[in-house]
């Protein structure tokens, strides 16, 4: 196995492994290509950087930005596009450009600029995952960065005014969603039966829009009308991110593993006990059957307790 690859990214919620588009793109690609990634979710301790998330750390270097991370994974032979033809590879680049130009501004606006959404959902969520006093500064900075990006790429000089741009970016985003829906049609993935880079990007951009509960939802409503795109997101979530469906973040995965281990030990102990009791019964004189009772209660109690802890 290659050297351990660690990915630092924002955590999950609302049924997603991550609510951050870029992080989700990388996680989806890793699942599709079979890359063994150890995911470190950013929490409110001082560990890990929050600069250019997601960040891939290998033995030798750190890589940020999804495009570069995906390139690196491909060079390490984790290639999800192996089966694609040259033309399909070219189409992938084109559609990713379409996503970034047409859909991303509206997604950024929905998450970071629209005041209702930002103050009720986005800011509290991100602030809870940053230590004080970063939680006061960083969300604001991220919001400003998003606004800047929207205005600089879609606004018109010399007056960069948000209101003029809003209508246009949402119209473009809806058109982009329609185009994606037309292109996907009834297939499971964009290029046949196996997921590829384009599927990772589309999933990364659409899934947060689809799942996160916002007060102002015009783009989300539009997306929900395109049933094949919703089906696409749900399929990927169910097939590749099943464990995270209950909202257990990858860090909580470790507690789940620990619980599983404890459970396995208990079950082993219990089965040993049962074997012993069985032996005793066979060897004992023939007596009327009696309940196997009290001896079983204690391990079973512990077992049912740990089962309760596991269920979400």
């Amino acid at each position: 196995m290659a050297a351990p690859l660690e990915l630092s990214c924002w955590g999950g919620g609302w049924g997603l492994p991550s609510v951050h588009s870029d992080s989700l793109v990388v996680m989806a690609y890793a699942k599709f290509s079979g890359a063994p990634l150890k995911v470190n979710v950013i929490d409110n301790t001082w560990r890990g950087s929050r600069g250019d998330v997601p960040v891939l750390t290998t033995e030798d270097n750190t890589i940020s930005q999804p495009a570069k991370i995906l390139n690196f994974l491909r060079k390490q032979k984790y290639n999800a596009d192996y089966e694609l033809s040259a033309k399909q590879g070219a189409d992938t680049l084109a559609y990713i450009a379409l996503l970034e130009e047409k859909l991303l501004p509206a997604v950024l606006h929905t998450f970071w600029v629209e005041s209702d959404n930002y103050f009720t959902v986005t800011k509290p969520w991100f602030a809870s995952r940053m230590p004080f006093p970063l939680s006061l500064i960083l969300p604001g900075r991220m919001s400003k960065g998003a606004l800047n990006r929207i205005l600089l790429t879609r606004g018109e000089p010399p007056l960069y005014h948000l209101r003029e741009v809003e209508a246009r970016i949402y119209r473009d985003a809806k058109e982009c969603l329609n185009l994606l829906s037309n292109r996907l049609g009834t297939s499971q993935f964009f290029f046949g039966d196996m997921p590829s880079t384009l599927d990772a990007y589309v999933f990364g951009f659409l899934a947060p829009l689809y799942k996160v509960r916002f007060p102002k939802v015009q783009l989300q409503e539009h997306l929900k009308q395109l049933s094949n795109l919703c089906r696409f997101c749900d399929d990927i979530l169910n097939s590749y991110f099943r464990l995270s469906l209950g909202g257990i973040s990858p860090a909580g995965q470790e507690t789940v593993d620990a619980n599983l281990q404890k459970l396995t030990q208990l079950v082993n102990k219990e089965s040993n006990l049962i074997e012993k009791m069985d032996d005793n019964l066979r060897q004992s004189p023939q007596l009327p059957p009696r309940k196997l009772p009290t001896l079983k209660l204690t391990p079973a109690e512990e077992e049912s307790n740990s089962l309760q802890r596991l269920s979400p």
Binding site: G89, D91, A94, A97, L98, E100, E101, P157
Partner: protein, 254 residues
């Protein structure tokens, strides 16, 4: 600035619409969106390729009517790819590469204005472009990385074009098809109904590649990247000869 000019001229030529090109110093301020070039038709003024395509379509001329939904999606996607990669790379080279900026761009941009306006406007534009680069994540890119991106984009375009004359080779000529169906003849000679026509994507790609190939820069690496793809070169020459009627091609071979 001549880049958009070429894209638009190519598009309008492809639609068989006659155009007259006029140069004005205050063109940027005459345009409704602040971008040049723009077209002035009757008492209407429309700027930027997207709205012009819509405007021309509303008047009954369209190059992409024969495409189906999936092809239209592909066309839009490739147009975004060209805007995303090629346009940004050209902007980067013009304004963020110190060698080019110092020798060519500042002088060229400020030339219509007297001192000190030429310096002020040029530096202001440079600051604006650098801000935009930073916002989209190109702020830290080196020239080599930008050239690599351009190469990737050209490779994608080259692969998509293949050996066809234009990007969307065949689309159904609705008029011919309707006439034939109405005349109730059989559906033999189906090929007859498909026309080989360029679309706005061809106009856009031609504009960008032509500009890259013919503009004088301090280093020729950008045009070298494009010249690596022979089908793209042939594509440019073909459109130049067909629509701009130049006898000998002005696109030089390496």
């Amino acid at each position: 600035m001549c880049l958009n000019n070429i894209c638009m001229s190519a598009f309008l030529q492809m639609c068989n619409l006659p155009i007259k090109v006029v140069c004005r110093a205050n063109a940027e301020y005459m345009s409704p969106s602040g971008k040049v070039p723009f077209i002035h038709v009757g008492n209407q003024v429309v700027s930027e390729l997207g709205p012009i395509v819509q405007f021309v379509k509303a008047k009954g001329h369209s190059l992409s009517d024969g495409l189906d939904e999936v092809q239209k999606a592909e066309m839009k996607a490739y147009m975004e790819l060209v805007n995303n990669m090629l346009l940004t790379a050209e902007l980067y080279l013009q304004w963020c590469d110190d060698a080019t900026v110092g020798e060519i761009t500042l002088a060229r941009y400020g030339s219509p204005y007297p001192w000190p306006l030429n310096h002020i406007l040029a530096y202001q534009k440079q600051w604006e472009v650098k801000r935009k680069m930073k916002a989209i994540g190109w702020g830290n890119k080196t020239l080599d990385q930008v050239l690599e991106d351009v190469d990737q984009c050209c490779q994608a375009l080259s692969q998509r074009l293949g050996t066809q004359p234009y990007f969307f080779n065949k689309h159904l000529n609705i008029w011919k098809f309707t006439v034939h169906v109405l005349s109730k003849s059989g559906l033999e000679n189906f090929e007859h109904y498909f026309t080989i026509m360029p679309t706005e994507l061809d106009a856009l790609v031609f504009g960008h590649l032509y500009t890259i190939l013919t503009t004088q820069m301090t280093n020729d690496e950008l045009s070298e990247k494009v010249k690596n793809y022979s089908n793209l070169l042939a594509f440019c020459r073909r459109i130049e000869q067909h629509y701009f009627g130049k006898g000998s091609s002005s696109i030089r071979l390496s």
